[in-house]
């Protein structure tokens, strides 16, 4: 059912035509699944190629010679040294080091292209304008749609439209003309598979989506499969696995903070919460994000309490499902640091029962990126 106040992406009519089940998500009416169902969509992405509409996400351009240095005042990430056409994961932090949002940043010839979460995009835009709007131009890009083509056959499909895209490596981008549309394509995604994200003018998005779906390798996939795929890939969902009360260090995202931004680095600190994060890097944290694999069949979902064998609370689950690929329950949880060693057995409280789970390294399924 459509609710009038929900926004629609440029592919809305196509989703309905494909028989999608639509749900409200971050102020948009979005496809959660198509008639084949979440499991089939998930498996198709791992085996072939899945097309996701992620046009609800925020695309923001930062233009001007000072843009990279300005952006570094808002996140603990090396943007200044980011090479041309390179893409990197980043996090906006608050003054206590908590994560306001996570994002991807790509250096293009004339600007930095940011892709931020749909549910945070208005707040992110305001944050950028308020804090660095005087140093660079901050431009929202509602005129652009965003498609993600993910899976081992994505490269074969996309390189039929532009053969040069086969040479892109993981976390790089380039301009590309696809089906007559001037696009910006990065080799990246949120599934753990090889794949591409395509920023395309909104009015040409449906035609491009139809051209991609016309290939026998490609099937549409919705937000349901996107969530199970990213969870298997060990990737965080902001608002669930990371939020304003968790720091990058607690979240196990310390790898996203390059040396140059750490204590002793040339451009150390200078972002919100630097003191708290440097302190955690030096002294450690009392709880951190881990992966858990269930030893029984019942899925363990967000909110479940994790206990030790004596009934003491160790933490809680932030995301969980039954993994379609490994066919076992998988979850992310924050646990007391002394229980985060891989192999540690813990108990998850589900409907009054205590279900055994084992701390596991992530990703739960191997990443299969194309690194050249």
């Amino acid at each position: 059912m459509s609710t009038p106040e929900l926004s629609k992406t440029p592919l809305h009519a196509l989703h309905l035509e494909l028989g999608a089940k639509m749900v409200a998500f971050a102020g948009y009416e979005m496809p959660v699944s198509y008639p084949s169902g979440v499991l089939a969509e998930h498996r198709h992405c791992r085996a072939s190629a899945a097309l996701f509409d992620v046009s609800h996400m925020g695309q923001i351009r930062l233009a001007g010679t000072d843009a990279a240095a300005a952006l570094e005042t808002l996140l603990p990430v090396d943007v200044v040294d980011l090479g041309m056409s390179r893409q990197r994961y980043g996090l906006f932090t608050n003054s206590s080091g908590g994560i306001l949002d996570d994002l991807m940043v790509t250096r293009r010839e004339d600007d930095l292209l940011l892709v931020v979460n749909a549910s945070n995009k208005d707040a992110d835009l305001k944050h950028l304008v308020t804090h660095i709007g005087h140093r660079c131009r901050v431009v929202a890009m509602p005129e652009q749609a965003l498609l993600a083509l993910q899976g081992p056959k994505a490269v074969g499909v996309l390189s039929r439209l532009d053969p040069e895209l086969a040479d892109l490596t993981f976390l790089t981008g380039r301009r590309s003309t696809l089906n007559g549309a001037e696009c910006y394509v990065t080799r990246s995604g949120y599934t753990g598979e090889d794949g591409f994200e395509i920023s395309v003018p909104a009015e040409q998005a449906e035609s491009l989506a139809r051209a991609l779906l016309a290939r026998p390798e490609v099937r549409p996939a919705g937000l349901g499969a996107r969530d199970t795929l990213r969870l298997e890939a060990g990737m965080c969902l902001h608002g669930h696995d990371i939020d304003a009360n968790t720091t990058p260090i607690e979240a196990g995202l310390g790898w996203a903070i390059q040396k140059v931004r750490r204590d002793g680095g040339a451009r150390h600190g200078g972002y919100p919460g630097a003191e708290a994060i440097d302190g955690q890097l030096a002294r450690g944290v009392s709880s951190k994000r881990v992966g858990l694999v269930g030893l029984e069949r019942a899925p363990v979902r967000a909110g479940a309490i994790i206990k030790d064998g004596r009934g003491h609370k160790l933490g809680h689950v932030t995301s969980g499902t039954l993994s379609p690929t490994v066919d076992q329950p998988i979850a992310m949880a924050y646990l007391a640091t002394n229980h985060t060693q891989a192999g540690t057995e813990v108990l998850a409280e589900v409907r009054g029962k205590l279900l055994p789970m084992r701390v596991s390294a992530m990703p739960f399924t191997p990443h299969r990126y194309f690194r050249g």
């Binding site: 169902g37 979440v38 998930h42």
Partner: protein, 124 residues
């Protein structure tokens, strides 16, 4: 009528009132999506009408399974426990959940019949 329906989108077939079969409707399985796990009640346990007797979970979500009538659970579908997708592929047949010895036939008669349930689904 031997099959009646509940507001929680379950069906109960009372051909044998000592072992009336309970499952979820086609509408329920469609709304849930791919069922990946079922938690079935213990055989021999007794419930009142409306009690939570089990859980059915899809990749997306967990939903409670309610007792459509009061009674004692006399059998559970072990095949469904082993292959929860039966709840999607054959919700009215091989995807049944459990059988119950109905203690109060009046509760059964108060449930919706087929046409009433179809109307509920159409208007939902």
């Amino acid at each position: 009528m031997t099959t009646m329906y509940t507001l929680e989108h379950e069906w109960i077939n009372i051909e044998d009132h000592e072992a009336a079969t309970v499952g979820i409707t086609h509408h329920a399985q469609d709304a849930l999506g791919d069922v990946v796990f079922v938690d079935l009640p213990a055989v021999g346990s007794t419930f009142k009408k409306g009690d939570v007797a089990g859980v059915v979970e899809s990749v997306k979500a967990a939903a409670d399974l309610y007792m459509p009538v009061s009674g004692e659970v006399v059998e559970v579908n072990e095949a469904l426990r082993g292959d929860p997708s039966l709840a999607n592929s054959d919700p009215l047949g091989h995807g049944w959940f459990f059988k119950v010895h109905v203690s109060n036939m009046a509760e059964f008669e108060q449930l919706m019949d087929g046409p009433e349930y179809d109307k509920l689904v159409k208007n939902s």
